[in-house]
Symmetry: C2
Subunit: 291 residues, 2 copies
């Protein structure tokens, strides 16, 4: 069976046709332009490549993922020019005449990781991406997390010692929230260079500190069995070991679980599917549109 | 049908026999002493009052609530003298020869609130108690939250401006975590009086600020449909309105939901069952031991 998957990002869209990591029959990537052009290009790709049984879309947000809502399938209040209140799922369902499943990009990635990657067999875990911004999703009790809307991990408040780091943060809403201090955009603004061009240990010690604070808050609220850290920033090879060390220090032994002590290497991990968690998760999401 | 419910607190245990808020046939409260004495007294109460079909226990923690674990039903690493590694559920199951369901006190309270109180019809919500300490539980996707262990909301890290509040915090593990800054124990230590004896607006403005920071982090990680604030501290009548106001200010409109703006009075609420959420929730928990 051929499913279609869309990782609908604010910068680029990644599309694939297939049935899993070992069966990707066609794939394409193009920049996110206007909604009209981007959606038309997406519909054309799936239409021209033999058709699909169902489509899954993991989208940048905020989105409306509540099936019973009149605006289900829409990107809602995004500041991205032209994209607020865009009906993504409805437009693609109409153009392709197939069932469409719609969720956040990070929930799609979490689903992909649970099916084929680093979260196989887990029912409560998080997928957090640290790129230009910070987003997060995951599962609780074996189901993707929604609730009132969907998680927005990036906008948690974390301690910020201005004597050590006088940087104000870059979040246009909150200044020094988690994303405002620790996302790739914050790193570039604070140090004047992109994350991938920075190797100074002061940069990565500070970054690990903020990431660890964010993860500690996720651990205390959700009690995940594992945290998967995706996105560009955690590709810096020194970051994950530093984050694990800081998480251990910050928790200070309060939560008595081997996973949070000697097992931290398997608790905070990179995505098993690398950069493909999102688009492969969207394919898995497509399967749920039929089930 | 008569079920037994136990709200097993670190200070006192509350026991009830019945089938719901309008059908509590017997109830008793006694101080938490040694495990042996407390458990014997509990078994005696249920044995002497006609017996029960099943027992639910909502316990102080940390606990092991994983059915498949060899230490299921135990209070695990509590600093409370004598209580570490105490088999609560097993001892009561053996003494009473009935099915026993075991969860955290806050998850039991959440269950009670969903059945009869302020969370009827919701599938993703939190119950947070602010008393001597801060605990939290709730449901995600219609099921009580567990995961690796269970949530420990009290130990999140939140911003702490030492120029405004030089108090170090009272958490023996983390100093100025959420509980260390905002629980009843922290209020007493910072201001030299118990929360209920303090009326100064500076006290409650600061308390509302910390509580709002904790709630914002819960909102960003779990996306609850409602937050129920139980425990002694939120009984101060000025607190909830101040918390709502600060939550609105801190979110700064980022999450576009009426519930987080004009609907905040119904989003952050007191328990519908008052002080009985825990013990009534334990009765509902007992029902699940049979189902």
């Amino acid at each position: 069976m051929a499913y279609g998957g869309v990782e609908a990002g604010g910068t680029k869209w990644v599309l694939a046709i297939g049935d899993g990591p070992d069966d990707v029959r066609e794939t394409t990537t193009f920049p996110t332009t206007t909604p009209e052009e981007t959606l038309a290009r997406t519909a054309a790709f799936f239409g021209q490549n033999g058709g699909i049984a169902a489509l899954g879309v993991g989208s940048f947000g905020p989105i409306d993922a509540l099936r019973s809502s009149p605006t289900w399938g829409h990107i809602t209040t995004t500041p991205k020019p032209g994209w607020a209140d865009t009906d993504v799922a409805g437009a693609l369902a109409e153009a392709l005449d197939v069932p469409v499943a719609f969720d956040t990009d990070v929930n799609a990635a979490a689903l992909g990781e649970q099916r084929w990657g680093a979260a196989i067999g887990l029912d409560t875990f998080c997928y957090i991406t640290i790129g230009t911004g910070i987003g997060g999703g995951g599962m609780s009790n074996g189901r993707l997390m929604h609730g009132l809307l969907h998680p927005e991990y990036g906008h948690m408040r974390i301690p910020h010692d201005r004597d050590l780091d006088p940087f104000d943060g870059v979040c246009p809403y909150h200044g020094d929230c988690f994303e405002g201090l620790a996302a790739g955009g914050a790193i570039r603004e604070r140090w004047g260079k992109k994350a991938e061009d920075l190797t100074d240990s002061a940069v990565w010690d500070l970054e690990a500190h903020y990431v660890a604070l964010g993860l500690v808050n996720v651990i205390c609220t959700l009690s995940p069995q594992r945290i998967i850290l995706g996105g560009g920033v955690p590709k810096q090879p020194t970051l994950l070991p530093l984050v694990r060390e800081q998480v251990r220090t910050l928790l200070a032994g309060y939560i008595d679980a081997e996973e949070l002590d000697s097992g931290l290497d398997e608790f905070i991990v990179a995505p098993g599917l690398g950069d493909r968690s999102g688009v492969l998760g969207a394919i898995e999401l497509a399967r749920t549109a039929i089930r």
